[in-house]
Symmetry: C2
Subunit: 152 residues, 2 copies
DNA sequence: CAGTATCCCTCAAGATACTG
DNA sequence: CAGTATCTTGAGGGATACTG
């Protein structure tokens, strides 16, 4: 995107998040990382993307604090890329995208991968917004207030 | 993106979702739509994006079944763009991105917009994954099973 | 194996002018 | 006001060759 607008001074957290992970590959790399993937070649094979682009995305994800590099566990001289706590907190984002895709982007009966709770062996239930009293929040039950001072 | 890989035959719902909304603008348009925005010029002013791009994104969001057009409520000859039920079900995605951004992309004390429960007047609590028995799912408590036949 | 370095091309995005 | 049309730029992406 040329002459691209700078949005890391946007006051909206959604806009800043999209600026970091709102591209074709970043969230798929994160998805694979949640799936236990750590090595350059594994990501490359899984995603089928050009190596230079993968290299660039991994670097940016490390710069953004989403991944960190570690020496390879098998003693080779190379890196492993693992999620930081900040990266792990993208879990709801990836799950929400997964569930939305499952519901709306597959034909009836079409096969797709699915997220399973290891303990129960069952698919994880739909992600919904619960308020602190347990009520389920719908979109029209919320509103955005501008420019609240953050605690983080 | 040139010679871009086709991923609408990917078996992973995350990949398909990213293919639909994984760009710089789509989710911000959806965010504004959640905020009650309906008119072309309102989106344009809010997002500060080029009109031809906005036009293109609105068309694609309509094609994807996320927005639908309606005659303008004020009687003018133009369109309004409103979320379909499928579009509204992107709510968890937008909220998850919002909350991740709030936590990780702002300096302490820096001001940002915030999502409020209209009824209680308080910020909506963090989005977490609850299993059907109420336990909180962490990333390492889940795994992906490939190619389950879908019910949708 | 794990990248980096090049080369090339396409298209997303911006700017601007135009139209009913 | 709500777009469409046209032009330009450059980032995103692919392919491939190269390196330790």
């Amino acid at each position: 995107m040329s002459r691209r607008k700078l949005i890391n001074d946007e006051p909206c957290p959604v806009a800043r998040s999209v600026d970091v992970v709102g591209d074709r590959w970043s969230l798929l790399i994160v998805r694979d990382a949640f799936d236990g993937m750590r090595r350059f070649s594994d990501f490359q094979r899984s995603l089928g993307m050009a190596r230079n682009i993968l290299s660039d995305r991994l670097r940016k994800l490390v710069e953004a604090g989403i991944l960190e590099t570690k020496p390879a566990s098998d003693g080779t001289a190379y890196q492993e890329y693992v999620l930081t706590p900040q990266g792990e907190s993208l879990f709801p984002v990836v799950v929400a995208l997964r569930q939305w895709g499952e519901q709306h982007l597959f034909n009836p009966g079409e096969r797709h991968s699915v997220l399973i709770n290891k303990r129960t062996g069952k698919a994880v239930p739909p992600l919904v917004l619960h308020d602190s009293d347990g009520t389920t929040l719908q979109p029209d039950m919320t509103e955005v207030r501008k420019l609240i001072s953050g605690s983080t």
